[in-house]
Every structure is written in structure tokens, then in C-alpha cells.
Symmetry: C2
Subunit: 294 residues, 2 copies
């Protein structure tokens, strides 16, 4: 496949992440135009071959594809609003952090100005940009993503999620919830095992194996959610809570923090109180899907 | 390697799990003696070739290796205490559910009566017993485990954890904490994505990939814990909490339960308050290692 390296790209916003993005485009051989309020942030990139645009309007004119990565969505509107006539017909990919509602609003705003708009989320730290490890999520019209995918490949592993511009943000935060949950469960287990003199390195491979093993169940469990039917094929919730109580008791007995197991059990207890004790774990989706107000 | 199939084994306690254990020994060709208070629970096993012992003492005499799997540790003492002279010189493996302190006490009790004692934990449901999927953890003197490993192999994937009899219970509950944490993070993400019309089956592969990917970090992060030094090589905690706040806000904005992200952030906030904002995530081990009293 033809990996385009001659498509001119523009990067607006040269924080740590913006500089990493522009650097990756340069490294892949793209003519790269940059703009930042504080121009000194561009010095290193200019030394590497980037062109510093004097105005946002000039930056937008330089290429058919513009990446914007600034502090927040308000900054996007302030910066691009000044030269919004330049947006007409351009491809704008917004990698600024925000939530799904902000992404959908920005899409409307950009499309009203004639731009093709994709919202994105970066699941990586700046030093990983340009490597396969950097996962960059995109949502919005598929055609826009496909036209520019070969160019975006310079940034890392680029993924298309769907037409709803809010998806990149939702997948991003869902992924973060998984990341911190795996880390916290590992920390909880490490704390438990350290009470018996087991060091973290000894316990880690066990935790890794359990996490990876349970991850394999998810597609199958997802079928229960999508069908709305939760037969207790493996275990019923009312059996699970006895083991949850045991986890709390053991945690308290050895003197480690028990908040994580208590939250686990509280969710299950509520589901049982709602009449789901004889069903399987994924029935908890009903508890996770509604706000808790107390 | 010689897989022993002629070692006589005894299984005491024929609940769902005990019957599965005895059935797996029979299937592997071991002469199997069983005992249960309610003898009718043995009917099927006897039809498959098991011998039903009339008393616990008789059951203990039948083989050099006895597995006990009953309701709780109190039941272990009550049943075996009657014939405790029969324990002398025997190998006793206790797969009854309990905590690490109970395991250590039971080891003392058994060793005072001349028995070799291993404590175990079964990370599987009864139908999985006898397959590689059934992970059975053992702790206690290594020699006892090694002498009987070839026999225990009939039950599933048998693992030795260390000399401290409490380890099987601790690894077991730590593994459960990981299991429910991965499932809950997946449910939280599924709830988020469903607000945008994404079904559970579409989201599950993404959750699986993140969980399996983060699991790979654990051995490296464990080194920070064991060294007690947490340089922010990837990200500092004070940066992470901004994304945690974002996760809470997005969860609340789309109307899903936000308790999980709130707990994640609360732990990090406390660590930052304790002066660790510039350090990396595994520094949270200090919060996880102490009880929270409020």
C-alpha cells in the first residue's frame, strides 16, 4: 500500500503532545506547517524542517489536513474562529482532550463552516507518538478518516470507531477506566501478598495471567448484555457475593485497604436487591448504567 | 514423566466441588475413597467406581493422600478431629474455602497430629475440575506438593506458591479482586458506550485489548514497588488525576454510575495529598497497603 509522505499537514498547538505529533509528521517526510501562540515552542521543529506559520489562517491554508491539539475546546473555537473562512473544504482533526458532548458540538461548529471534521483521542504519552504503541482513536465520517489514514499512520496505530463524533472520547475514558482498574486490582493484590512477605515482582505474573485470562471472557459476556438475558451458566451473583464478602474479610484481617472490594460487593448487593441474585455477573450492567444518587 | 494413576486417594466432603474432585480422580484411574455425612451424595461416584467409606477414620486409612473440601474450617476440625490419630504420617490437602489465618491455624493443628498439610484454593467452578482451565493453588511445605503433584495433576492446573500456608488463600482473593475489577471496568465502559448506541459486542474487543495490554505493564511496575522508588517515567500522578476527573465528568454527563471512577480518583487524590503527586502510579501501593477508617 502506498504510504503517503508528501501530503502537507498542519499542526496547531505545540504543547508537549502537539510537538510530538508535528515531529512524527516531519520524521515521516510530510511537509509540516505549525502554529503556536508562543512561537518559541516551534524552534526545535523548525530546525527539523517545519515551517512556522505567522497566523492561524496561514497555517490552515498550508495543507488540506489540519490537526489541532490545544488546551481545551474553548481554545479551539477561539483560535480557529478568527479565521473560520479558511475552514471551508478543509479536513480538521481535533485531538484536543474533551468529552463526547464537546466533540459533537465542535463537529457541528466545524461542519457549519464547511470543514470535514474528525474528533480524536490520543491513548499515549507524547514520547510514544510515532510508534505503534500510540493508539489514536478517531470518530466522525468514515470517508474523511479513510482519505487521510495513510497520512495519519505516521502518528501511531490509528483507529476508526464510527460516525458519531463522541465515540473517540467515550472509548478513551472507557479505556482509562480499564487501565486504572487493572492497576488498582493489581495494587490491592500486591498489598495483600506483601503482608505474607511476597514481593511485588513475585506476585505480578499471577496478576497479569488473571487479567489477561478474564479479558478473554468479555466478548462472550457481551452477548449476554446485548441479548438482555443473563442465565447463570458459570456462576450466580448470589454465589459470587459470598466470595466478595470473603475478599473484604481477608483484606481487613491482614490490614489492607478494603474500599475496592467493598465497592465490588456494594454493586453486586444492589443488583441482588433488585432481584438478580440468580443471574450471572453481566446483569450488573443495569447498575453500571444508571447514576447513583446518595 | 510418569503420571501416577495408581495412587489411592481419599476425598472427604461431597458437595458440588468435592464430587467434581473425586470424579476427576476416578476418571484419571485412581482408586478413590469418598466420605460424606449424607451418604447419598456418593451414589453417582460409587456407580463410577468409588468406594464409600463408612467413617472418616476409615476414609483416612484408605490412602496416603486425603483431600478435604467441606463448608468451612470449623467443619474440617469437627470431622477430622474425631479420628485424629489417623492423621499421623498422612498427607492432608485442605481445599475448603477460608482465609489465610485459618489456613495457618489448620496447618498447625494438622502438623501437631503428625500430618503433612497443604492448604489449597480452587480458582474454578466444579464443571471445570479435571481440565487445564481449573487452577488449583497450593501452599505449605514444597516436598509435600512435589511428592503428590503427579496425582494432583488429575484435578487441573496445579500450582505451588510457597511454604506459608496462607498463600493459597491470599493469591485466591487477590485473583478474585482482579477478576471483578476487569469485569467492572468493562461494564463501566460498556455502559458509557451504550449511551452512544454502541452495543456490548462492539466494545468488548477494545476492552479486552486494553486489559491485556495493561496486564503486560505489571511486572515492570512491580520493580518500582520492590525498590520503593517511583520516578514518573511515563506519567505523574498529578497528571493522571486530571484524566480521572475527566472520566468522572463524562460518566456523569452521559448519566452512568460514577462510583468506580470516583474511587479511582479518591485513592489518587489521597496519595497526592500525602505528597506523591510527582511520582508514578505504583506509588499508590502506600494507600492500598493501609486500612481506611472513616
Amino acid at each position: 500500500m502506498n504510504r503517503k509522505t508528501d501530503t502537507p499537514v498542519t499542526v496547531i498547538g505545540l504543547g508537549l503532545m502537539g510537538r510530538a505529533l508535528a515531529g512524527a509528521f516531519l520524521k515521516a517526510g510530510h511537509p509540516t506547517t505549525v502554529w503556536n501562540r508562543t512561537t518559541s515552542k516551534a524552534d526545535q521543529l523548525v530546525a527539523e524542517g517545519a515551517r512556522l506559520a505567522p497566523t492561524v489562517g496561514d497555517a490552515l491554508r498550508a495543507g488540506s489536513l489540519t490537526i489541532v491539539c490545544v488546551t481545551d475546546y474553548q481554545a479551539v473555537y477561539e483560535l480557529l474562529g478568527v479565521s473560520d473562512s479558511e475552514l471551508d473544504g478543509k479536513m480538521l482533526i481535533n485531538l484536543t482532550s474533551g468529552d463526547s458532548a464537546q466533540a459533537r458540538e465542535a463537529a457541528q461548529w466545524a461542519e457549519q463552516r464547511g470543514a470535514h471534521y474528525l474528533d480524536g483521542a490520543i491513548m499515549a504519552i507524547p514520547p510514544a507518538i510515532g510508534t505503534a504503541e500510540a493508539v489514536i482513536l478517531h470518530s466522525g465520517p468514515r470517508s474523511g478518516f479513510e482519505i487521510h489514514k495513510a497520512t495519519l499512520d505516521a502518528l501511531g496505530t490509528v483507529t476508526y470507531l464510527g460516525a458519531d463524533h463522541g465515540l473517540a472520547s467515550l472509548y478513551d475514558v472507557a479505556g482509562l477506566a480499564m487501565m486504572w482498574s487493572v492497576l488498582n486490582a493489581w495494587l490491592h493484590g500486591t498489598a495483600l501478598l506483601r503482608t505474607a512477605g511476597v514481593d511485588a515482582a513475585t506476585y505480578a505474573p499471577f496478576a497479569r495471567q488473571i487479567a489477561a485470562g478474564v479479558a478473554e471472557w468479555l466478548p462472550g459476556y457481551a452477548e449476554q448484555i446485548d441479548s438482555g438475558s443473563f442465565p447463570a451458566e458459570v456462576s450466580a451473583l448470589e454465589t459470587d457475593v459470598r466470595a466478595m464478602a470473603h475478599l473484604i474479610e481477608e483484606s481487613e484481617a491482614v490490614g489492607v485497604n478494603a474500599e475496592l472490594p467493598k465497592l465490588i460487593k456494594a454493586m453486586a448487593d444492589r443488583s441482588i436487591a433488585a432481584g438478580h441474585g440468580g443471574e450471572q455477573y453481566p446483569v450488573l450492567i443495569e447498575e453500571f448504567s444508571k447514576p447513583r444518587n446518595d
